[in-house]
């Protein structure tokens, strides 16, 4: 249950931060490949045998997520179009899947079993001593996002506008993105790849709280994510977590797409 609360808040806040920084309503740790980056770290750690306990898997995930975030940030600086960013995220996801399948081909049966169980995604398997590490990582990520509150509130209007309001954009942006990466990595390392929470929950929070003030949205998204993940955790173990979340998440993303066509994004 603790895992559901932590993963729900982590992924939601990560998604919210990414959508705000990239001014892209369809951004999220999963879509941008950041969760995949974390998965690659986990795969390297579990399959290729770099294992150092909880910190090792988490560290590997955080490293993978950060590398993808840096690539995504570089791409977003070069291409103005919101679609390019999503496609690059998708491509990175495929590339990482390919690398993981190569790793799987060369791995032993026992390591493979651990990896496959992890990759199903679940809130039930985090051991109690692991929860503390998980909570610590989520707290660190949240702090990095929260200290950049002034930037988050101005970011939707573009970097120049934020600079005009006295925001140190370069520092704040890196701070938020590092925070978002750590949040996505922590959730992925401990609960496996969890889909749709990051992309869908920020929109649910918008609908519920009807504000763009991140002082409300950050805790609001964390709350919505927690509730969603707790509800998803109520389903019997035989139904995979990601199946439940997809059934909730896909309509929300579809709604965002339809809404976007009305306001003229695409």
């Amino acid at each position: 249950m603790c895992a559901a609360v932590l993963a729900g808040s982590a992924l939601s806040v990560s998604g919210l931060a990414l959508q705000t920084v990239f001014c892209n309503p369809l951004a999220g740790p999963f879509v941008l490949g950041i969760s995949s980056g974390a998965s690659l770290g986990v795969a390297l750690s579990l399959l290729a045998g770099f294992s150092f306990g909880n910190f090792g898997v988490l560290g590997a995930a955080a490293l993978g997520a950060s590398v993808v975030t840096i690539i995504v940030m570089w791409v977003s600086g070069r291409f103005r179009n919101v679609g390019v960013l999503l496609i690059v995220g998708l491509l990175l996801g495929y590339l990482i899947d390919a690398i993981v399948s190569v790793l799987i081909a060369g791995s032993e049966a026992e390591a493979l079993r651990v990896y496959v169980t992890w990759s199903m995604g679940s809130f039930g398997r985090v051991l109690l001593d692991g929860v503390w590490v998980f909570a610590l990582a989520v707290a660190a990520g949240l702090v990095l996002v929260v200290v950049s509150m002034r930037y988050l509130n101005a970011a939707r209007l573009g970097d120049d506008f934020a600079r005009g309001l006295g925001v140190r954009v370069e520092v704040s942006k890196k701070c938020v993105l590092l925070g978002a990466s750590i949040l996505a990595a922590a959730s992925t390392a401990f609960c496996g790849p969890v889909a749709f929470v990051g992309i869908a929950v920020p929109h649910l929070a918008f609908m519920l709280f009807k504000t763009t003030d991140h002082r409300v949205l950050v805790p609001g998204a964390a709350l919505c994510g927690t509730v969603l993940c707790l509800l998803a955790g109520l389903f019997p173990v035989s139904i995979p977590l990601n199946a439940v979340l997809s059934i909730v998440g896909v309509p929300v993303v579809f709604y965002v797409l339809v809404r976007g066509s009305r306001t003229g994004w695409w």
Binding site: N153, A154, L157, F161, G166, D213
Partner: protein
């Protein structure tokens, strides 16, 4: 240095090359000859010139968004780059009419961003902030659609909201980039009258770029012109006789 000088520039060269030149690639390109200029409290200066002459770049340089190629800019007597970002944002503000429309944001929330340079660590707002935001919306005549989403506004309404945000920022030096581009004639007159009122009441200095000679001569104290690589400035009543507006004549 005169005590009422809000913004002062000495031998200033502006252009976009300054950043690139640091990396040692291109030589920085100045858009026009170096010039010196003082903006005083209580005056509105019109900035004129053909498209692409560097009006916007000059305004961005004054706002600290684009580093100058050479020369110095002083804000309240201190070099622009020496200000910390937040302190600077309390003193100088640039209003532009273009920019991404923030999704889901209401007019009120947008204008509230103007208080961001004054807010604390978590970007909180006090009752006083809310009052300042209300007043800013009142004076720019946007209160009637305060709760509407920004994306649903017309260009003219957006112009006024952009101005309201800068008013809420309570800057001494207000820079406006073609604020009447989307405004109808009565609203343009109202805007320039409002600017005149601001400089009198709030001891501000305003630089406003515009293509309208009529408004510049009628409402502004001085007219600055960028023409043929030179920056020239004269009192509004004399600009025409001194030939500052010659570039604007039809063939």
């Amino acid at each position: 240095m005169a005590s009422d000088s809000l913004l002062q520039c000495v031998d200033l060269c502006v252009g976009y090359g300054a950043v690139r030149s640091k990396r040692g690639a291109d030589r920085p390109q100045s858009l026009f000859e170096p010039f010196s200029f003082d903006l005083h409290a209580g005056e509105v200066v019109a900035l004129m010139g053909v498209n692409g002459c560097g009006k916007s770049t000059l305004l961005k340089t004054f706002a600290g968004l684009v580093p100058q190629v050479s020369g110095d800019v002083f804000l309240d007597g201190t070099p622009l780059q020496a200000w910390n970002a937040r302190e600077r944002a309390r003193r100088v503000g640039l209003v532009r009419m273009s920019g991404s429309a923030p999704d889901r944001m209401t007019v009120r929330e947008f204008v509230g961003l103007g208080r961001s340079p004054y807010s604390g660590f978590l970007d909180g707002r006090t009752a006083e902030d809310e009052k300042i935001v209300d007043d800013a919306m009142q004076v720019t005549d946007v209160s009637c659609f305060a709760e509407r989403p920004f994306t649903e506004l017309s260009d003219g309404e957006r112009s006024r909201v952009f101005l309201a945000e800068a008013v809420a920022q309570q800057v001494n030096v207000l820079l406006l980039d073609e604020p009447n581009a989307f405004l109808d004639i009565p609203r343009s007159h109202a805007l320039f009258r409002l600017l005149k009122k601001f400089v009198g009441m709030r001891k501000m200095g305003i630089i406003v770029s515009t293509h309208s000679i009529e408004y510049a001569e009628k409402y502004c104290d001085r007219i600055a012109v960028i023409d043929g690589g030179n920056f020239r400035v004269a009192p509004a009543s004399e600009a025409r006789n001194l030939g500052l507006l010659d570039w604007a004549r039809a063939e």
